[in-house]
């Protein structure tokens, strides 16, 4: 579950072993070395280019398909038209209004979920009685799709902000909670044994060993939660809202402003990518020690 989200491996710069035999790379340069240096530039350019190839191809297809009549231009406007609509919305300030509405709901829900789920997860993982007591109900909730509960939230909390934020909280809580539990549970017992042999109190043991060891796993949960917060929020906004990216998309569709609808979808992609990039950056800072 977490490995698919793991950050790409960064090669260790220095050779950590002192006993290692000299590698072939350290042998004196051969006559062809200069040419090879030129060749070394090619992989670099390729490394920058490679990820964008598929995206460029996709956008080109999007641009060309409506223009040559493969799809109806009314239902799928060319990418350039969508981008034009995107910048129009950006200039008029309308896009920002929707983004900020969605973002503030997502962030509030997300942070509330973090504040609830991490301490709860720690408690569940650390105290066996709590875990025995709560596990069945957690299992039940976890397997109930968040969106299925949207009508319930709307009935109880109304169509306003509360129901949407509540839904985000619900959807974010479980990935964080479950990853916190597994992070705390799977701390290497030898580290705990070694630390307790130093006479550390349970609180210090927790603070100095268990929590730092669990941070990467907890953070994987946080990233999963951030992704699902956007997902359920957009869906909720599509059902009933007066602002937000989900609202922008459905409202544009109803008013037959198809380019605007696609602009909203593009905005969601960009937002999702940005949030993920920020979290990956933080995660990398926190788990520099990981192999």
């Amino acid at each position: 579950m977490s490995s698919a989200l793991a950050t790409p491996e960064v090669p260790v710069a220095a050779d950590p072993t002192r006993t290692a035999a000299p590698t072939p790379a350290s042998t004196p340069p051969e006559p062809g070395a200069v040419q090879r240096a030129g060749a070394a530039l090619r992989p670099l350019a390729w490394r920058i280019l490679k990820p964008s190839v598929a995206i460029v191809a996709f956008l080109a297809l999007w641009e060309i398909a409506p223009r040559v009549g493969l799809v109806d231009e009314v239902f799928l406007p060319p990418f350039s038209t969508v981008i034009e609509a995107f910048f129009d919305l950006l200039q008029s300030g309308e896009l920002w209004q929707h983004v900020s509405a969605s973002l503030s709901r997502a962030l509030i829900g997300f942070f509330v979920a973090v504040v609830i789920a991490i301490p709860l997860g720690i408690a569940i993982a650390w105290y066996r009685p709590v875990s025995d007591f709560l596990n069945p109900i957690l299992e039940l909730f976890r397997n109930t799709a968040a969106l299925a509960l949207l009508p319930v939230f709307i009935l109880i909390l109304g169509i306003g902000e509360e129901s949407k934020i509540a839904l985000v909280i619900y959807a974010c809580t479980f990935p964080i909670l479950l990853n916190t539990i597994s992070g705390v549970r799977t701390v290497d017992p030898l580290l705990i044994k070694s630390a307790s042999s130093l006479g550390l109190s349970p609180v210090r043991l927790f603070q100095k060993v268990v929590l730092p060891a669990a941070v990467p796993t907890i953070f994987t949960g946080i990233r999963m939660a951030a992704a699902s917060s956007i997902l359920v929020l957009i869906a909720a906004e599509m059902v009933g809202a007066k602002a937000g990216l989900g609202y922008l998309i459905t409202a544009s569709q109803f008013n037959f402003q198809i380019p605007n609808m696609y602009a909203g979808i593009v905005a969601i992609s960009v937002l999702g990518l940005t949030i993920n990039a920020v979290l990956v950056l933080i995660e990398r800072r926190l788990s520099r020690w990981r192999v």
Binding site: A14, T17, S196, P212, V215
Partner: protein, 278 residues
């Protein structure tokens, strides 16, 4: 064969004393008790290097947990400087086979870990960590994370960590078993050098006969299931020459301990096979 621990030139209060230590465990789903170690009597003089060598199933993990204060003996006592051991503490330092370094801390901060537990101020911790990095030959490697270090270097860090908080006794649990042969031999030499430099009392547990003879002033041979001290062998060899492990004296000790152990190893294997059939 006599199993007395006393030795004429060790009449003063021993640094570490194990007095008739026995540890039994409950067997799940049965009223029987499983005896891991039985009536272990060991005295360690101040500054002594004692090696315990035994077959698998000699109860070494049990013994280590008892010494570390992580569990209590069923009967008997463990005395450190005449005081009974009642729990874990910084008067004993344990070096584990699998290093047990905190992977999110650099080598330096790992060494500082025990010093934090001791409550030393930051500046002092830093200075001590630097000193012990140098002692174990890792000067300049303080900022490396454990995954950037080789196995031998990790174990050096672990040794430095245990020495840094200045324990009375250093307990070493097969510390070099996971290393390759060359690294192991060089770390054995390093350990002897460190032992001489610090004058620490060391209790070293191993499966390796060569390692036991090379390191120990005295070797305690353990029996298997339950673990008991079969006998003590005083080691008196000249370690200054080249390839000490091949000389006459060394081979003599090797054969003697091998003979003592051999029966135990066979017995342990028979027991293991029997259990596998059940």
């Amino acid at each position: 064969m006599s199993t007395t621990a006393s030795n004429p030139d060790r009449v003063q209060t021993p640094k570490l004393r194990l007095e008739h230590v026995t540890k039994q465990f409950d067997v799940r789903g049965s009223k029987d008790k499983f005896t891991a170690i039985e009536d272990i009597d060991i005295d360690l003089a101040d500054g002594e290097f004692l090696v315990l060598v035994g077959p698998s199933g000699c109860g070494k993990s049990t013994l280590l947990d008892l010494l570390g204060g992580l569990s209590t003996p069923t009967s008997g006592r463990i005395l450190l400087d005449g005081q009974p051991v009642t729990g874990p503490g910084l008067d004993r330092g344990i070096v584990f086979q699998q290093y047990a370094l905190l992977p999110w801390r650099t080598a330096r901060h790992n060494i500082e870990f025990g010093l934090e537990a001791k409550g030393l101020p930051r500046k002092e911790r830093r200075e001590l960590a630097e000193h012990y990095l140098e002692l174990v030959g890792l000067k300049g490697f303080g900022d490396r994370y454990p995954h950037e270090l080789s196995g031998g270097m990790k174990q050096r860090v672990a040794i430095a960590r245990s020495l840094a908080f200045d324990p009375e006794v250093l307990l070493m649990d097969e510390p070099f078993a996971a290393l390759d042969a060359q690294t192991r031999e060089s770390l054995q030499d390093e350990l002897l050098r460190i032992w001489k430099a610090t004058g620490k009392t060391i209790l070293f547990i191993t499966h390796g006969i060569d390692e036991a003879i090379y390191l120990g002033q005295r070797v305690a041979v353990l029996t298997s299931r339950p673990g008991r001290v079969k006998t003590f062998v005083d080691i008196d060899i000249d370690r200054s020459g080249e390839d000490v492990r091949s000389n006459e004296q060394f081979r003599h000790y090797r054969h003697r301990i091998w003979t003592l152990l051999h029966g135990e190893v066979e017995r342990a294997q028979v027991i293991e096979k029997e259990e596998a059939h059940v």
